[in-house]
Symmetry: C2
Subunit: 158 residues, 2 copies
């Protein structure tokens, strides 16, 4: 890996370490980088912000999108102190980020009590076999929002 | 399904429909309910807020957590106008929500151009076979944030 990659990874790790010391959240940090420039930063703020979605990667994506004024981060990459969980990986896909560089992996995280392998296993199951119960109500109006969307002109697609 | 369930589902659908009409985002709405009371609401704000993570379910979870002042939503359920995507399902797991009631399913969504089955399939693949490239850099400091976390006393676990 070249020096620049090493610097960004080391910076994400430093942010993760400082975040523990500040008491604002868990030991995770992430950077979004485009054309060699940092365009977004995030650390875990789950407990500090009372937001279970405030993982470092999601926070870094939100910050980058705010900074560039768009909801896609095409041609950007993300550096994370640890391998992303399923929620963060989903956010990375929706943001159109194409490459993830990470330092610690999910085995390292599990040793510190952060085990998301359970959620990865759940996702691979059919909906009826997951521990979170999913119940469909086929309300007769369920397709109305989609019908409105399809008919709408000049909509912002994403 | 009893009347209350039907009312909450219908309300999530109404929010989704109104959100299209307001031009702030996609055709999705969600409610977090605890003890029969709505404690959080969300609609899709991806384009309106320039936030790819601002799906209805994530927004509803964030709103509920803000309202109750905690990052867990134990004993709460979520009503969604459509079946959750992988990112939202991840957020539901992290929020400790145990039941999801939804109206439209992913086939209905796909007909309107919202197809997340690709992401579900990607999640089931080993990291090296996914279309988003994942590269681990085993930086010698990669476990420092976790070591700090393990040593820290009085930390807020989540």
């Amino acid at each position: 890996m070249d020096t620049k990659h090493a610097d960004f990874i080391r910076e994400a790790i430093r942010m993760a370490r400082n975040n523990v010391e500040s008491g604002q959240g868990g030991p995770f940090g992430a950077l979004v980088v485009k054309n060699g420039q940092v365009i977004g930063r995030g650390v875990n703020r789950v407990t500090g912000n009372n937001d279970p979605s405030a993982h470092a990667e999601v926070e870094a994506i939100r910050d980058a999108c705010k900074n560039i004024g768009h909801y896609w981060l095409k041609d950007a990459v993300i550096y994370a102190s640890c391998e992303p969980c399923p929620m963060c990986l989903g956010a990375i896909y929706w943001a159109r980020i194409k490459t993830i560089y990470f330092a610690a992996d999910n085995k390292d995280a599990a040793r510190a009590g952060f085990d998301d392998s359970f959620i990865y296993r759940e996702f691979a199951l059919p909906r009826e076999d997951r521990s979170v119960r999913s119940v469909q109500f086929k309300d007769s109006e369920r397709n109305q929002p989609f019908d409105h969307w399809i008919r709408m002109e000049n909509k912002a697609r994403y």
